[in-house]
């Protein structure tokens, strides 16, 4: 089965939630919808499920137009960010619910429910009610109900966002294996770039209701086609600086000059924007080509063995992710190193014109 969105638009009360989205998802693929809140992730999932009907465009399954087909006639399963279960049914009945409606014979139903429960490690909770379980168990119940149905399309709307850190890590580890076993088209919406990178598969980055790029997750991460994609797919956010290319060198506003090595080599003269990730902004000179610029420390966040140095260079706010503890005083000047080999270059319209080597882009 393939699922195709063709130029799909959804507006609610004059507000555009999804604008002209075109996507083709193949059978057995794992797809991540990545974007900040209000970028249209949930709406796209609802359009795929058939819970909402687009105002323009078509939804096709295997080339057949299903735009107006109601959800209960489609083969869909969905997991919400909030833990949604039937509070009046036991965990067993919750998982069995789609099979009961489909009139699956008793013995097969029992076997499938117990398999799904075992996979989600809910074996010992089957007789309990969802509201008496922990958040992680509740969400695993919802996941079990979604997989027991063996639907062609499995939609997950930030399923781990409301879980605590430990459970999130645990489920994040299980999910990719699970998705591979099911063989359905899986669509996983998330706001966290790290989720997308850990899940792998393909990623569609979203910005204000549009898909900015769709491709293999690693490709999208290392070769963002435009600035919006690079911004959506960087955590902490990507740093930017305006530059002027002239005579094979990049002139930065502060007077610093980057040698046009690596991606910057061969760029035509003109105005560009350079982008670089937080882990490519250094406190110590990483290579001979790297050039220092002076910035003012705004704040330093220390997370155990790493430091996030927030600095202001001219009126741009940068974040440097560096190993080790660096206790810098806010307001103090700091030398930061830019490495030309790690630079993404965007033209005036925000399109990518040069990217680092594939290996150097991570």
């Amino acid at each position: 089965m393939t699922l195709e969105l063709r130029n799909v638009t959804k507006r609610v009360g004059g507000e555009t939630h999804v604008a002209g989205v075109t996507l083709t998802l193949e059978r057995g693929s794992l797809n991540v919808l990545l974007g900040p809140t209000l970028s249209g992730k949930t709406t796209i999932l609802r359009l795929m499920a058939g819970l909402d009907v687009p105002v323009e465009g078509q939804v096709l399954i295997d080339g057949r137009d299903v735009t107006g087909t109601p959800v209960r006639q489609r083969s869909v399963a969905m997991v919400y960010q909030q833990f949604i279960n039937y509070p009046n049914l036991t965990v067993y009945e919750n998982i069995a619910s789609p099979l009961r409606v489909a009139r699956v014979p008793r013995t097969e139903l029992d076997r499938r429910v117990r398999d799904a429960a075992a996979l989600m490690r809910l074996d010992s909770q089957l007789d309990r009610y969802p509201l008496g379980l922990s958040g992680g168990q509740q969400q695993r119940t919802a996941l079990a109900r979604a997989i027991v149905k063996r639907a062609d399309l499995l939609l997950l709307d930030e399923p781990l966002a409301n879980l605590d850190y430990k459970l999130r890590e645990e489920l994040r580890e299980q999910l990719p294996k699970l998705f591979a076993e099911i063989g359905a088209i899986t669509v996983y919406a998330t706001a966290e770039p790290s989720d997308a990178l850990l899940l792998g598969g393909s990623t569609a980055t979203l910005s204000e209701g549009r898909v900015t790029q769709f491709g293999r997750t690693v490709d999208v991460y290392r070769r963002p086609t435009d600035r919006e994609t690079a911004e959506a797919f960087s955590d902490p956010p990507m740093n930017f600086i305006a530059a002027r290319i002239a005579g094979g060198k990049a002139h930065l506003p502060g007077g610093a000059i980057l040698p046009a090595h690596g991606p910057l080599a061969g760029l035509p003269d003109g105005e560009i924007t350079l982008g670089f990730r937080a882990n490519h902004l250094y406190l110590r000179q990483p290579s001979q080509d790297a050039v220092a610029v002076t910035a003012k420390v705004a704040i330093v966040e220390i997370t155990g063995s790493e430091s996030f140095v927030h600095a202001i260079h001219r009126d741009m706010r940068w974040v440097a992710l560096v190993h080790g503890i660096h206790e810098l005083n806010p307001g103090a000047p700091v030398e930061l190193y830019l490495d030309p080999k790690r630079m993404f270059a965007f033209d005036r319209d925000g399109r990518l014109v040069a990217a680092p080597d594939f290996a150097a882009a991570a």
Partner: protein, 291 residues
């Protein structure tokens, strides 16, 4: 070390004791107000019970805190005289009928208000409530003539329908609050699982708002039970409510005060019974709903 420890602990101990004493003093006052309140509430009810066990002569002749000549004659009269016990049966009949009607009509209406946006939904919702603000008296005359013309005068269904005027809006409001407490995603999950609307509504949704249905039914029953004006206007003999029987007794047989008191005491009973059945829901209900 030990010295300083005991020295340090002593003032703490004494302040703790003082605090406990203060708490005791506060408790000493705090029971008084609710006790007085309950006392004032209970006095009339006690007096009603008191009178219902007296003879009419004793009620009129002496002022006594408890019955001197204890008698069940008043109650006996009510359970044996068809005019009296039919009054109760009529009231129970139309109040029950009204409760079933109101709740079953209000369920889909409340679901629509809770789940869908449509043109003028907020205005319509508020307009429903304004029906409750109108005094029933203004509807008495039109209802009388309308029900008479379609041959419904003096029937249980007439009173039950008339009471829908104020009970359906109330039930819609109560149920809408409960329904909005159930996330819309539960509906959607059911549709995704393949439930039809009917199956979802009866198998999943109704059990989730059972408390709300209990509370709504309780209010409908009680308001229908205590309403006098419409019930009296729309009936004459066959469907006459108990409250109406009580007013007649004064005017015709003169002073039958003992029987009247017994009737009053019995009128409280159905309310108490209904409260007993929904007691678990009502506490949960008030917390979840928005009433």
């Amino acid at each position: 070390m030990t010295d300083t420890a005991t020295v340090a602990s002593r003032p703490m101990h004494s302040t703790g004791a003082a605090r406990r004493a203060g708490a005791r003093r506060r408790i000493g006052f705090s029971w008084l107000v609710p006790a007085l309140y309950i006392l004032f509430l209970m006095v009339p009810i006690y007096w009603l019970l008191n009178m219902s066990f007296k003879t009419t002569n004793e009620i009129l002749g002496t002022f006594s805190l408890w019955p001197n000549e204890f008698t069940f004659a008043n109650y006996h009269k009510i359970v044996t005289d068809p005019v009296w016990y039919n009054g109760y049966l009529n009231s129970i009949a139309y109040a029950t009928l009204n409760t079933i009607l109101s709740v079953s009509v209000a369920l889909p209406a409340a679901y629509a208000f809770s789940r869908y946006r449509f043109l003028g939904d907020k205005h319509l919702f508020f307009w429903l409530l304004t029906n409750r603000m109108a005094p029933p008296a203004i509807f008495a005359l039109p209802f009388f003539q309308l029900y008479s013309s379609v041959g419904l005068f003096d029937t249980h269904i007439a009173v039950a329908l008339a009471h829908c005027l104020f009970n359906i809006p109330l039930a819609v409001w109560i149920l809408e609050g409960f329904m909005s407490g159930v996330p819309k995603e539960i509906d959607e999950t059911a549709y995704i699982d393949g439930y039809s609307f009917r199956r979802f509504f009866f198998k999943i949704f109704i059990p989730l708002i059972a408390g709300g249905i209990g509370v709504a039914a309780f209010f409908c029953f009680m308001f229908s039970w205590v309403e006098l004006l419409l019930a009296k206007t729309l009936t004459s003999v066959a469907a006459r409510p108990i409250a109406s029987v009580m007013t007649r007794t004064i005017s015709i047989s003169g002073y039958e005060l003992g029987v009247l008191a017994a009737a009053g005491a019995l009128t409280i009973v159905p309310g108490a019974i209904v409260i007993y059945f929904v007691r678990n829901y009502i506490a949960k209900g008030f917390a979840l709903g928005r009433v």
